[in-house]
Protein backbone atom coordinates (compact mmCIF):
# COMPACT_ATOMS: atom_id res chain seq x y z
CA UNK A 1 0.00 0.00 0.00
CA UNK A 2 1.68 3.18 -1.19
CA UNK A 3 0.06 6.38 0.04
CA UNK A 4 0.87 9.96 -0.92
CA UNK A 5 -0.29 12.69 1.47
CA UNK A 6 -0.32 16.25 0.13
CA UNK A 7 0.19 18.79 2.90
CA UNK A 8 0.51 22.57 3.19
CA UNK A 9 2.47 24.89 5.42
CA UNK A 10 0.12 27.52 6.86
CA UNK A 11 0.37 30.24 9.51
CA UNK A 12 -1.04 29.50 12.95
CA UNK A 13 -4.38 31.25 13.23
CA UNK A 14 -4.27 32.26 16.87
CA UNK A 15 -3.03 35.82 16.12
CA UNK A 16 -4.23 39.21 14.94
CA UNK A 17 -3.18 39.31 11.29
CA UNK A 18 -1.74 42.47 9.74
CA UNK A 19 -1.86 43.23 6.05
CA UNK A 20 1.51 43.33 4.24
CA UNK A 21 2.60 46.69 2.77
CA UNK A 22 1.88 45.50 -0.81
CA UNK A 23 -1.75 44.93 0.21
CA UNK A 24 -2.06 41.48 -1.36
CA UNK A 25 -1.07 39.27 1.54
CA UNK A 26 -0.67 39.12 5.28
CA UNK A 27 2.42 40.47 7.00
CA UNK A 28 4.46 37.36 7.79
CA UNK A 29 6.60 38.98 10.46
CA UNK A 30 6.21 37.14 13.74
CA UNK A 31 3.86 34.46 12.37
CA UNK A 32 4.33 30.87 13.47
CA UNK A 33 3.82 28.16 10.89
CA UNK A 34 2.61 24.59 11.02
CA UNK A 35 0.99 21.85 8.96
CA UNK A 36 -2.63 22.75 8.05
CA UNK A 37 -5.05 21.08 10.51
CA UNK A 38 -6.87 18.78 8.08
CA UNK A 39 -3.57 17.75 6.47
CA UNK A 40 -2.44 16.54 9.91
CA UNK A 41 -5.52 14.29 10.08
CA UNK A 42 -4.67 12.97 6.61
CA UNK A 43 -1.05 12.15 7.59
CA UNK A 44 -2.27 10.38 10.71
CA UNK A 45 -4.92 8.41 8.82
CA UNK A 46 -2.33 7.33 6.24
CA UNK A 47 0.13 6.21 8.93
CA UNK A 48 -2.57 4.26 10.79
CA UNK A 49 -3.52 2.50 7.56
CA UNK A 50 0.00 1.31 6.79
CA UNK A 51 0.53 0.35 10.44
CA UNK A 52 -2.67 -1.72 10.42
CA UNK A 53 -1.68 -3.46 7.20
CA UNK A 54 1.87 -3.95 8.50
CA UNK A 55 3.21 -2.93 5.13
CA UNK A 56 3.34 0.08 2.84
CA UNK A 57 4.88 3.48 2.53
CA UNK A 58 3.64 7.00 3.27
CA UNK A 59 5.13 9.77 1.13
CA UNK A 60 4.56 13.39 2.19
CA UNK A 61 4.38 15.97 -0.60
CA UNK A 62 4.19 19.74 -0.34
CA UNK A 63 4.25 22.67 -2.72
CA UNK A 64 5.70 25.88 -1.37
CA UNK A 65 8.77 27.91 -0.46
CA UNK A 66 11.94 26.44 1.10
CA UNK A 67 10.48 26.91 4.57
CA UNK A 68 7.80 24.34 3.68
CA UNK A 69 10.46 21.68 4.21
CA UNK A 70 9.88 22.14 7.97
CA UNK A 71 6.32 20.93 7.38
CA UNK A 72 7.61 17.92 5.45
CA UNK A 73 10.05 17.16 8.29
CA UNK A 74 7.10 17.17 10.68
CA UNK A 75 5.31 14.56 8.55
CA UNK A 76 8.55 12.54 8.45
CA UNK A 77 8.89 12.78 12.24
CA UNK A 78 5.31 11.51 12.59
CA UNK A 79 6.32 8.46 10.56
CA UNK A 80 6.22 9.18 6.80
CA UNK A 81 9.00 7.33 4.94
CA UNK A 82 10.11 10.08 2.59
CA UNK A 83 9.12 13.48 1.29
CA UNK A 84 8.93 15.49 -1.91
CA UNK A 85 9.16 19.29 -2.02
CA UNK A 86 7.79 21.01 -5.12
CA UNK A 87 9.36 24.44 -4.97
CA UNK A 88 7.07 27.45 -5.48
CA UNK A 89 7.59 30.79 -3.78
CA UNK A 90 5.10 32.21 -3.10
CA UNK A 91 2.40 29.54 -3.27
CA UNK A 92 0.05 30.76 -6.01
CA UNK A 93 -3.64 31.23 -5.10
CA UNK A 94 -4.60 29.47 -8.36
CA UNK A 95 -5.80 26.03 -7.23
CA UNK A 96 -5.75 24.59 -10.75
CA UNK A 97 -2.10 25.54 -11.19
CA UNK A 98 -1.29 23.78 -7.90
CA UNK A 99 -3.32 20.70 -8.85
CA UNK A 100 -1.46 20.50 -12.18
CA UNK A 101 1.92 20.59 -10.46
CA UNK A 102 0.86 17.92 -7.96
CA UNK A 103 -0.70 15.71 -10.64
CA UNK A 104 2.51 15.90 -12.69
CA UNK A 105 4.44 14.61 -9.67
CA UNK A 106 1.86 12.02 -8.55
CA UNK A 107 1.07 10.47 -11.94
CA UNK A 108 4.29 8.43 -12.11
CA UNK A 109 4.39 7.53 -8.40
CA UNK A 110 2.35 4.33 -8.48
CA UNK A 111 0.26 5.37 -5.46
CA UNK A 112 -2.70 3.28 -4.32
CA UNK A 113 -4.13 6.23 -2.44
CA UNK A 114 -3.56 9.99 -2.61
CA UNK A 115 -4.75 11.89 0.45
CA UNK A 116 -5.33 15.57 1.19
CA UNK A 117 -6.85 17.58 4.02
CA UNK A 118 -10.35 18.68 2.96
CA UNK A 119 -9.08 22.26 2.75
CA UNK A 120 -6.15 24.37 3.86
CA UNK A 121 -6.92 26.43 6.90
CA UNK A 122 -5.46 29.63 5.38
CA UNK A 123 -6.80 29.94 1.83
CA UNK A 124 -9.83 27.71 2.60
CA UNK A 125 -10.63 26.69 -0.97
CA UNK A 126 -10.89 22.91 -0.68
CA UNK A 127 -10.32 22.61 -4.41
CA UNK A 128 -6.87 21.14 -4.96
CA UNK A 129 -7.73 17.56 -3.89
CA UNK A 130 -10.73 16.97 -6.20
CA UNK A 131 -8.97 18.87 -9.02
CA UNK A 132 -5.91 16.64 -8.71
CA UNK A 133 -8.18 13.58 -8.82
CA UNK A 134 -9.72 14.82 -12.07
CA UNK A 135 -6.31 15.46 -13.61
CA UNK A 136 -5.15 11.98 -12.61
CA UNK A 137 -8.44 10.43 -13.79
CA UNK A 138 -8.96 8.81 -10.38
CA UNK A 139 -12.14 8.33 -8.36
CA UNK A 140 -12.44 10.86 -5.55
CA UNK A 141 -14.17 11.16 -2.20
CA UNK A 142 -14.15 14.74 -0.91
CA UNK A 143 -14.30 15.47 2.84
CA UNK A 144 -14.41 11.92 4.20
CA UNK A 145 -15.20 11.84 7.92
CA UNK A 146 -14.55 8.08 8.07
CA UNK A 147 -12.29 6.03 5.86
CA UNK A 148 -11.52 2.34 5.68
CA UNK A 149 -9.42 0.50 3.11
CA UNK A 150 -9.62 -3.28 2.78
CA UNK A 151 -9.32 -5.80 -0.03
CA UNK A 152 -8.35 -3.27 -2.67
CA UNK A 153 -11.32 -1.02 -2.14
CA UNK A 154 -12.33 1.79 0.14
CA UNK A 155 -15.38 2.79 2.11
CA UNK A 156 -15.99 6.30 3.39
CA UNK A 157 -18.56 8.49 5.07
CA UNK A 158 -19.31 12.09 4.06
CA UNK A 159 -21.22 14.55 6.21
CA UNK A 160 -24.05 16.42 4.47
CA UNK A 161 -26.23 19.22 5.78
CA UNK A 162 -28.64 17.35 8.02
CA UNK A 163 -27.38 13.89 7.12
CA UNK A 164 -24.54 11.78 5.80
CA UNK A 165 -23.77 9.31 3.05
CA UNK A 166 -21.72 6.12 2.94
CA UNK A 167 -19.65 5.49 -0.16
CA UNK A 168 -17.69 2.68 -1.74
CA UNK A 169 -14.86 3.16 -4.25
CA UNK A 170 -12.07 1.21 -5.99
CA UNK A 171 -8.34 1.92 -5.63
CA UNK A 172 -6.32 3.80 -6.70
CA UNK A 173 -8.28 6.83 -5.51
CA UNK A 174 -8.00 10.34 -4.10
CA UNK A 175 -9.57 11.03 -0.69
CA UNK A 176 -9.71 14.37 1.13
CA UNK A 177 -10.00 14.15 4.89
CA UNK A 178 -12.48 15.87 7.20
CA UNK A 179 -12.15 16.11 10.92
CA UNK A 180 -12.98 12.98 12.89
CA UNK A 181 -10.93 10.48 10.87
CA UNK A 182 -7.87 10.53 13.12
CA UNK A 183 -6.26 12.83 15.69
CA UNK A 184 -2.68 13.51 14.61
CA UNK A 185 0.01 12.07 16.89
CA UNK A 186 2.78 14.21 18.33
CA UNK A 187 6.18 13.38 16.83
CA UNK A 188 8.32 11.45 19.32
CA UNK A 189 11.89 12.48 20.03
CA UNK A 190 13.00 9.31 18.24
CA UNK A 191 10.77 10.26 15.31
CA UNK A 192 12.24 13.75 15.15
CA UNK A 193 15.79 12.36 15.12
CA UNK A 194 14.92 9.78 12.46
CA UNK A 195 13.24 12.41 10.27
CA UNK A 196 16.53 14.25 9.82
CA UNK A 197 17.94 11.28 7.92
CA UNK A 198 14.91 10.47 5.78
CA UNK A 199 15.06 11.32 2.06
CA UNK A 200 13.57 14.66 0.96
CA UNK A 201 13.59 15.28 -2.80
CA UNK A 202 13.39 18.85 -4.08
CA UNK A 203 12.00 19.64 -7.53
CA UNK A 204 10.60 22.75 -9.22
CA UNK A 205 6.76 22.90 -9.25
CA UNK A 206 5.33 22.81 -12.78
CA UNK A 207 2.63 25.38 -12.20
CA UNK A 208 1.78 26.74 -15.67
CA UNK A 209 -0.44 29.81 -16.05
CA UNK A 210 -1.80 31.54 -12.96
CA UNK A 211 -5.32 32.79 -13.67
CA UNK A 212 -6.69 33.24 -10.14
CA UNK A 213 -4.94 35.80 -7.96
CA UNK A 214 -5.49 37.71 -4.75
CA UNK A 215 -5.68 41.38 -5.76
CA UNK A 216 -6.16 42.82 -2.28
CA UNK A 217 -6.35 41.61 1.29
CA UNK A 218 -8.07 43.53 4.03
CA UNK A 219 -9.14 43.05 7.59
CA UNK A 220 -12.90 42.63 8.01
CA UNK A 221 -14.75 45.57 9.53
CA UNK A 222 -14.59 45.37 13.33
CA UNK A 223 -17.86 44.51 14.96
CA UNK A 224 -19.06 47.45 16.97
CA UNK A 225 -18.20 46.99 20.64
CA UNK A 226 -20.76 44.78 22.30
CA UNK A 227 -22.88 45.78 25.25
CA UNK A 228 -23.13 43.82 28.45
CA UNK A 229 -26.73 44.43 29.43
CA UNK A 230 -26.41 43.26 32.97
CA UNK A 231 -26.02 40.33 35.30
CA UNK A 232 -28.36 37.43 35.92
CA UNK A 233 -32.04 36.98 35.08
CA UNK A 234 -32.75 40.67 35.71
CA UNK A 235 -31.19 41.51 32.32
CA UNK A 236 -33.51 39.23 30.34
CA UNK A 237 -36.38 41.76 29.78
CA UNK A 238 -33.93 44.34 28.39
CA UNK A 239 -32.43 41.69 26.07
CA UNK A 240 -35.86 40.72 24.75
CA UNK A 241 -36.77 44.39 24.25
CA UNK A 242 -33.58 45.04 22.24
CA UNK A 243 -34.05 41.89 20.14
CA UNK A 244 -37.52 43.19 19.26
CA UNK A 245 -36.93 46.90 18.76
CA UNK A 246 -33.25 47.29 17.83
CA UNK A 247 -32.10 44.04 16.22
CA UNK A 248 -35.65 43.27 15.03
CA UNK A 249 -35.08 39.53 15.13
CA UNK A 250 -37.87 38.61 17.51
Amino acid sequence: MKIAVCIKRVPEMDVRFKIAPNGTGVDEAGLKWDMSDFDGYAVEAALQMTEKLGTGEVVAITLGPDAAQETLRKALSMGAARAIHLKADPIPFDNFAIAKALAAELSSGGYDLVMFGKMSIDSSNGAVGPMTAELLGLPCVAAASKLDIAGGKGTARRELEGGAELLEFPLPAVVTIDEGVARPRYPSLKGIMAAKKKPLDVKPAQLGDVRLTVTTMALPPERPAGRILGEGVGAVPELVRLLQTEAKVL
Binding site: P11, M13, F17, V26, F93, D94, N95, F96, A99, I121, S123, S124, N125, A127, V128, P130, M131, T132, A133, E134, P139, A143, R158, E159, L160, E161, G162, G163, E165, L166, E168, F169, A173, E179, G180, R211, L212, T215, M217, A218, L219, P220, R223, G226, R227, I228, L229, G230, G232, V233, A235, V236, P237, L239, V240, L242, L243, A247, V249, L250
Partner: protein
Protein backbone atom coordinates in the same frame (compact mmCIF):
# COMPACT_ATOMS: atom_id res chain seq x y z
CA UNK B 1 -19.56 35.30 -27.66
CA UNK B 2 -19.70 33.50 -24.40
CA UNK B 3 -22.02 35.60 -22.31
CA UNK B 4 -24.52 33.20 -20.76
CA UNK B 5 -24.15 32.08 -17.16
CA UNK B 6 -24.84 28.56 -15.91
CA UNK B 7 -25.80 27.80 -12.31
CA UNK B 8 -26.10 24.37 -10.72
CA UNK B 9 -29.37 23.83 -8.80
CA UNK B 10 -28.84 21.52 -5.85
CA UNK B 11 -31.60 19.10 -4.91
CA UNK B 12 -31.89 16.26 -2.46
CA UNK B 13 -34.58 13.61 -2.37
CA UNK B 14 -36.31 15.25 -5.34
CA UNK B 15 -36.64 18.63 -3.62
CA UNK B 16 -34.70 21.82 -4.43
CA UNK B 17 -32.48 23.04 -1.62
CA UNK B 18 -32.44 26.70 -0.56
CA UNK B 19 -28.97 27.09 -2.10
CA UNK B 20 -30.45 26.28 -5.54
CA UNK B 21 -32.30 29.61 -5.47
CA UNK B 22 -29.16 31.39 -4.27
CA UNK B 23 -27.22 29.96 -7.25
CA UNK B 24 -30.00 31.01 -9.65
CA UNK B 25 -29.99 34.52 -8.16
CA UNK B 26 -26.23 34.89 -8.72
CA UNK B 27 -26.52 33.54 -12.27
CA UNK B 28 -29.27 36.09 -12.97
CA UNK B 29 -27.18 39.00 -11.75
CA UNK B 30 -24.02 37.90 -13.60
CA UNK B 31 -26.04 37.26 -16.78
CA UNK B 32 -27.52 40.76 -16.55
CA UNK B 33 -23.99 42.18 -16.30
CA UNK B 34 -22.70 40.05 -19.18
CA UNK B 35 -25.70 40.71 -21.40
CA UNK B 36 -26.57 37.01 -21.65
CA UNK B 37 -29.07 34.53 -20.33
CA UNK B 38 -29.20 32.79 -16.96
CA UNK B 39 -29.28 29.02 -17.36
CA UNK B 40 -29.79 26.65 -14.45
CA UNK B 41 -28.88 22.97 -14.59
CA UNK B 42 -31.25 20.73 -12.65
CA UNK B 43 -30.33 17.06 -12.32
CA UNK B 44 -31.98 14.17 -10.53
CA UNK B 45 -34.08 11.07 -10.76
CA UNK B 46 -36.97 11.11 -13.29
CA UNK B 47 -39.57 13.64 -12.14
CA UNK B 48 -37.08 16.35 -11.12
CA UNK B 49 -38.20 18.38 -14.19
CA UNK B 50 -41.26 19.42 -12.16
CA UNK B 51 -38.97 21.79 -10.23
CA UNK B 52 -37.98 23.79 -13.33
CA UNK B 53 -40.81 26.27 -12.91
CA UNK B 54 -39.60 27.28 -9.44
CA UNK B 55 -36.18 28.13 -10.90
CA UNK B 56 -37.82 30.39 -13.47
CA UNK B 57 -39.28 32.33 -10.56
CA UNK B 58 -35.72 33.08 -9.42
CA UNK B 59 -34.56 34.35 -12.78
CA UNK B 60 -33.66 31.30 -14.92
CA UNK B 61 -34.23 31.94 -18.64
CA UNK B 62 -33.41 28.32 -19.41
CA UNK B 63 -33.57 25.26 -17.17
CA UNK B 64 -31.35 22.45 -18.41
CA UNK B 65 -32.97 19.27 -17.09
CA UNK B 66 -30.97 16.06 -16.73
CA UNK B 67 -33.00 13.07 -15.55
CA UNK B 68 -31.57 9.64 -14.78
CA UNK B 69 -32.34 7.06 -12.12
CA UNK B 70 -28.68 7.02 -11.04
CA UNK B 71 -28.74 10.79 -10.39
CA UNK B 72 -31.18 10.47 -7.49
CA UNK B 73 -28.37 10.04 -4.97
CA UNK B 74 -25.25 12.16 -5.00
CA UNK B 75 -23.20 11.12 -8.00
CA UNK B 76 -20.42 13.66 -8.39
CA UNK B 77 -18.59 11.80 -11.17
CA UNK B 78 -21.59 11.71 -13.47
CA UNK B 79 -22.78 15.18 -12.50
CA UNK B 80 -19.39 16.83 -12.97
CA UNK B 81 -19.01 15.24 -16.41
CA UNK B 82 -22.52 16.32 -17.41
CA UNK B 83 -22.08 19.90 -16.19
CA UNK B 84 -18.64 20.26 -17.81
CA UNK B 85 -19.93 18.94 -21.14
CA UNK B 86 -22.83 21.39 -21.04
CA UNK B 87 -20.45 24.28 -20.29
CA UNK B 88 -18.28 23.33 -23.27
CA UNK B 89 -21.17 23.68 -25.74
CA UNK B 90 -23.33 26.33 -24.05
CA UNK B 91 -21.33 29.54 -24.57
CA UNK B 92 -20.90 30.32 -20.89
CA UNK B 93 -19.00 33.25 -19.42
CA UNK B 94 -19.35 31.93 -15.88
CA UNK B 95 -20.47 28.85 -13.94
CA UNK B 96 -21.99 29.24 -10.47
CA UNK B 97 -22.11 26.74 -7.60
CA UNK B 98 -22.91 27.19 -3.92
CA UNK B 99 -20.23 25.82 -1.58
CA UNK B 100 -22.53 23.39 0.24
CA UNK B 101 -21.29 19.84 0.97
CA UNK B 102 -22.31 18.89 -2.57
CA UNK B 103 -21.12 22.12 -4.20
CA UNK B 104 -17.69 21.86 -2.56
CA UNK B 105 -17.40 18.39 -4.05
CA UNK B 106 -18.67 19.25 -7.55
CA UNK B 107 -17.25 22.70 -8.31
CA UNK B 108 -13.53 21.79 -8.30
CA UNK B 109 -14.17 18.70 -10.40
CA UNK B 110 -16.03 20.74 -13.03
CA UNK B 111 -13.35 23.45 -13.02
CA UNK B 112 -10.60 20.85 -13.49
CA UNK B 113 -12.49 19.18 -16.35
CA UNK B 114 -12.67 22.62 -18.00
CA UNK B 115 -8.98 23.29 -17.26
CA UNK B 116 -9.63 26.42 -15.17
CA UNK B 117 -9.22 27.47 -11.51
CA UNK B 118 -12.12 27.79 -9.07
CA UNK B 119 -12.82 30.94 -7.06
CA UNK B 120 -14.45 29.24 -4.10
CA UNK B 121 -16.59 30.15 -1.12
CA UNK B 122 -17.18 33.74 -2.26
CA UNK B 123 -19.30 36.14 -0.25
CA UNK B 124 -19.70 38.55 -3.19
CA UNK B 125 -19.09 38.22 -6.92
CA UNK B 126 -19.24 40.56 -9.90
CA UNK B 127 -18.26 40.79 -13.51
CA UNK B 128 -15.71 43.53 -13.99
CA UNK B 129 -14.73 43.97 -17.65
CA UNK B 130 -12.92 40.83 -18.74
CA UNK B 131 -12.49 39.63 -15.16
CA UNK B 132 -14.65 38.15 -12.47
CA UNK B 133 -13.94 39.61 -9.04
CA UNK B 134 -15.12 38.23 -5.72
CA UNK B 135 -14.46 38.36 -2.01
CA UNK B 136 -13.44 35.29 -0.03
CA UNK B 137 -12.81 35.04 3.72
CA UNK B 138 -9.39 33.46 4.42
CA UNK B 139 -7.43 32.67 7.59
CA UNK B 140 -10.59 31.59 9.45
CA UNK B 141 -12.42 34.75 8.44
CA UNK B 142 -9.84 37.06 10.02
CA UNK B 143 -8.79 38.37 6.61
CA UNK B 144 -10.90 39.08 3.53
CA UNK B 145 -9.25 38.40 0.19
CA UNK B 146 -10.47 40.03 -3.00
CA UNK B 147 -9.75 37.53 -5.77
CA UNK B 148 -9.60 38.06 -9.51
CA UNK B 149 -10.34 35.35 -12.01
CA UNK B 150 -9.14 35.85 -15.59
CA UNK B 151 -9.95 32.35 -16.87
CA UNK B 152 -12.97 31.81 -19.15
CA UNK B 153 -15.31 30.35 -18.15
CA UNK B 154 -15.05 31.80 -14.65
CA UNK B 155 -16.04 29.00 -12.26
CA UNK B 156 -17.16 30.25 -8.84
CA UNK B 157 -18.79 28.87 -5.72
CA UNK B 158 -20.68 31.09 -3.29
CA UNK B 159 -20.74 30.72 0.48
CA UNK B 160 -24.16 29.32 1.48
CA UNK B 161 -26.40 32.12 2.75
CA UNK B 162 -24.06 34.89 1.55
CA UNK B 163 -26.52 35.77 -1.19
CA UNK B 164 -30.21 36.33 -0.54
CA UNK B 165 -32.31 34.54 -3.14
CA UNK B 166 -34.30 37.15 -5.07
CA UNK B 167 -37.33 36.54 -7.24
CA UNK B 168 -37.07 37.64 -10.89
CA UNK B 169 -40.01 35.72 -12.34
CA UNK B 170 -40.15 34.50 -15.90
CA UNK B 171 -41.26 31.37 -17.70
CA UNK B 172 -38.12 29.36 -18.15
CA UNK B 173 -37.58 27.38 -21.34
CA UNK B 174 -36.86 23.76 -20.48
CA UNK B 175 -34.14 21.91 -22.34
CA UNK B 176 -33.82 18.21 -21.71
CA UNK B 177 -30.27 16.93 -21.87
CA UNK B 178 -28.90 13.39 -21.54
CA UNK B 179 -26.25 12.79 -18.89
CA UNK B 180 -22.67 12.31 -20.06
CA UNK B 181 -21.63 8.68 -20.05
CA UNK B 182 -23.53 6.17 -17.94
CA UNK B 183 -24.34 7.59 -14.48
CA UNK B 184 -24.86 4.04 -13.21
CA UNK B 185 -21.21 3.23 -14.02
CA UNK B 186 -19.64 5.81 -11.66
CA UNK B 187 -16.72 4.39 -9.73
CA UNK B 188 -17.70 6.01 -6.43
CA UNK B 189 -21.06 4.60 -5.32
CA UNK B 190 -23.37 5.71 -2.54
CA UNK B 191 -24.25 2.60 -0.53
CA UNK B 192 -26.40 4.34 2.06
CA UNK B 193 -27.85 7.78 2.72
CA UNK B 194 -28.34 8.59 6.38
CA UNK B 195 -30.96 11.23 6.97
CA UNK B 196 -30.57 13.44 9.99
CA UNK B 197 -33.71 14.30 11.85
CA UNK B 198 -35.73 15.86 9.03
CA UNK B 199 -37.89 17.70 11.53
CA UNK B 200 -34.88 19.82 12.45
CA UNK B 201 -33.83 22.92 10.57
CA UNK B 202 -30.34 22.69 9.11
CA UNK B 203 -27.74 25.08 10.56
CA UNK B 204 -27.23 26.55 7.08
CA UNK B 205 -30.92 27.31 6.60
CA UNK B 206 -32.01 28.50 10.05
CA UNK B 207 -32.48 32.26 10.58
CA UNK B 208 -31.77 31.73 14.29
CA UNK B 209 -29.13 29.48 15.85
CA UNK B 210 -28.93 28.71 19.55
CA UNK B 211 -25.57 27.19 20.38
CA UNK B 212 -24.24 25.63 23.57
CA UNK B 213 -20.80 25.17 25.08
CA UNK B 214 -19.08 23.70 28.12
CA UNK B 215 -20.69 26.34 30.30
CA UNK B 216 -23.78 24.12 30.30
CA UNK B 217 -21.73 21.80 32.56
CA UNK B 218 -23.44 18.52 31.57
CA UNK B 219 -24.89 16.92 28.46
CA UNK B 220 -28.41 16.78 29.91
CA UNK B 221 -28.44 20.58 30.31
CA UNK B 222 -28.42 20.89 26.51
CA UNK B 223 -32.18 20.51 26.90
CA UNK B 224 -32.18 24.21 27.89
CA UNK B 225 -30.62 25.11 24.53
CA UNK B 226 -33.15 22.98 22.68
CA UNK B 227 -36.02 24.56 24.60
CA UNK B 228 -34.80 28.06 23.75
CA UNK B 229 -34.48 27.08 20.08
CA UNK B 230 -38.00 25.67 20.18
CA UNK B 231 -39.29 28.93 21.68
CA UNK B 232 -37.90 30.86 18.71
CA UNK B 233 -39.59 28.35 16.42
CA UNK B 234 -37.25 29.05 13.50
CA UNK B 235 -34.01 28.05 15.22
CA UNK B 236 -31.42 25.30 14.80
CA UNK B 237 -29.16 24.02 17.58
CA UNK B 238 -25.38 24.28 17.31
CA UNK B 239 -22.46 23.42 19.58
CA UNK B 240 -18.80 24.10 20.22
CA UNK B 241 -16.07 21.64 19.39
CA UNK B 242 -15.44 20.93 23.08
CA UNK B 243 -19.02 19.76 23.39
CA UNK B 244 -19.04 17.61 20.23
CA UNK B 245 -15.66 16.09 21.16
CA UNK B 246 -17.16 15.10 24.51
CA UNK B 247 -20.05 13.45 22.71
CA UNK B 248 -22.74 15.74 24.16
CA UNK B 249 -23.79 16.51 20.60
CA UNK B 250 -23.06 14.94 17.17
CA UNK B 251 -20.05 16.28 15.23
CA UNK B 252 -22.42 17.56 12.54
CA UNK B 253 -23.65 20.20 15.05
CA UNK B 254 -20.20 21.72 15.49
CA UNK B 255 -19.82 25.38 14.57
CA UNK B 256 -16.31 26.71 14.07
CA UNK B 257 -13.12 26.67 12.10
CA UNK B 258 -13.25 22.93 11.48
CA UNK B 259 -17.05 22.61 11.58
CA UNK B 260 -19.86 24.55 9.97
CA UNK B 261 -19.54 28.25 9.19
CA UNK B 262 -22.81 30.03 9.70
CA UNK B 263 -24.21 33.56 9.46
CA UNK B 264 -27.78 33.56 10.78
CA UNK B 265 -29.78 36.68 11.60
CA UNK B 266 -29.46 35.84 15.28
CA UNK B 267 -26.85 33.71 17.03
CA UNK B 268 -27.35 32.97 20.73
CA UNK B 269 -24.18 31.66 22.41
CA UNK B 270 -25.04 29.85 25.63
CA UNK B 271 -22.15 29.05 27.96
CA UNK B 272 -19.61 29.56 25.18
CA UNK B 273 -16.37 31.33 26.08
CA UNK B 274 -15.60 32.24 22.47
CA UNK B 275 -12.42 30.37 21.55
CA UNK B 276 -10.94 31.65 18.33
CA UNK B 277 -11.88 28.42 16.54
CA UNK B 278 -15.52 28.90 17.47
CA UNK B 279 -15.58 32.60 16.52
CA UNK B 280 -14.30 31.62 13.07
CA UNK B 281 -17.57 29.78 12.48
CA UNK B 282 -20.06 32.42 13.64
CA UNK B 283 -18.51 35.89 13.70
CA UNK B 284 -20.39 36.93 10.54
CA UNK B 285 -23.79 36.39 12.21
CA UNK B 286 -25.90 39.54 11.97
CA UNK B 287 -26.81 39.80 15.66
CA UNK B 288 -24.95 37.91 18.39
CA UNK B 289 -26.19 37.34 21.93
CA UNK B 290 -23.89 35.85 24.57
CA UNK B 291 -24.75 34.45 27.98
CA UNK B 292 -21.74 33.46 30.04
CA UNK B 293 -20.65 33.55 33.66
CA UNK B 294 -17.22 35.03 32.90
CA UNK B 295 -17.40 38.76 32.15
CA UNK B 296 -13.92 38.60 30.56
CA UNK B 297 -14.85 35.80 28.10
CA UNK B 298 -13.86 36.66 24.49
CA UNK B 299 -17.41 35.95 23.28
CA UNK B 300 -18.47 39.30 24.80
CA UNK B 301 -16.08 41.09 22.41
CA UNK B 302 -18.12 39.96 19.39
CA UNK B 303 -21.55 39.87 21.05
CA UNK B 304 -23.97 42.71 20.36
CA UNK B 305 -25.78 41.94 23.60
CA UNK B 306 -24.37 40.11 26.59
CA UNK B 307 -25.69 38.86 29.91
CA UNK B 308 -23.24 37.83 32.62
CA UNK B 309 -24.40 34.99 34.82
CA UNK B 310 -25.30 31.35 35.23
CA UNK B 311 -26.78 29.96 32.03
CA UNK B 312 -28.76 27.37 33.99
CA UNK B 313 -30.69 30.17 35.69
CA UNK B 314 -30.88 32.68 32.84
CA UNK B 315 -31.79 30.48 29.85
CA UNK B 316 -35.11 29.16 31.20
CA UNK B 317 -36.21 32.74 31.97
CA UNK B 318 -35.15 33.86 28.48
CA UNK B 319 -37.01 30.90 26.96
CA UNK B 320 -40.20 31.90 28.73
CA UNK B 321 -39.76 35.54 27.65
CA UNK B 322 -39.15 34.59 24.01
CA UNK B 323 -42.18 32.30 24.06
CA UNK B 324 -44.28 35.16 25.45
CA UNK B 325 -42.93 37.61 22.84
CA UNK B 326 -43.62 35.15 20.03
CA UNK B 327 -47.13 34.56 21.32
CA UNK B 328 -47.96 38.26 21.57
CA UNK B 329 -47.83 39.00 17.85
Amino acid sequence: MANHVLAFAESRGGELRKVAYEAATVARSLANAAGGEAHVLLAGAPGIAAKAEALGRFGADVVVVVEHAALGDSNPEALAATIADRVKVGGYRAVVFVASAQGKDLAPRVAAKLGVPLASDLTTVELSGDKVVGTHPVNTGKVIATVTLTAIPAVVSMRPGAVTAAEAPRTARVENVAPSGDPAASRVKVTETIAGSTAKLDLGDAPVIVSGGRGLRAAENFKLVEDLAAAFGNAAVGATRAVTDDGWRPHSDQIGQTGRQVSPNLYVAVGISGAIQHLAGMRTSKTIVAINKDREAPIFKVADYGIVGDVLEIVPVLTAAVRAAKGSH
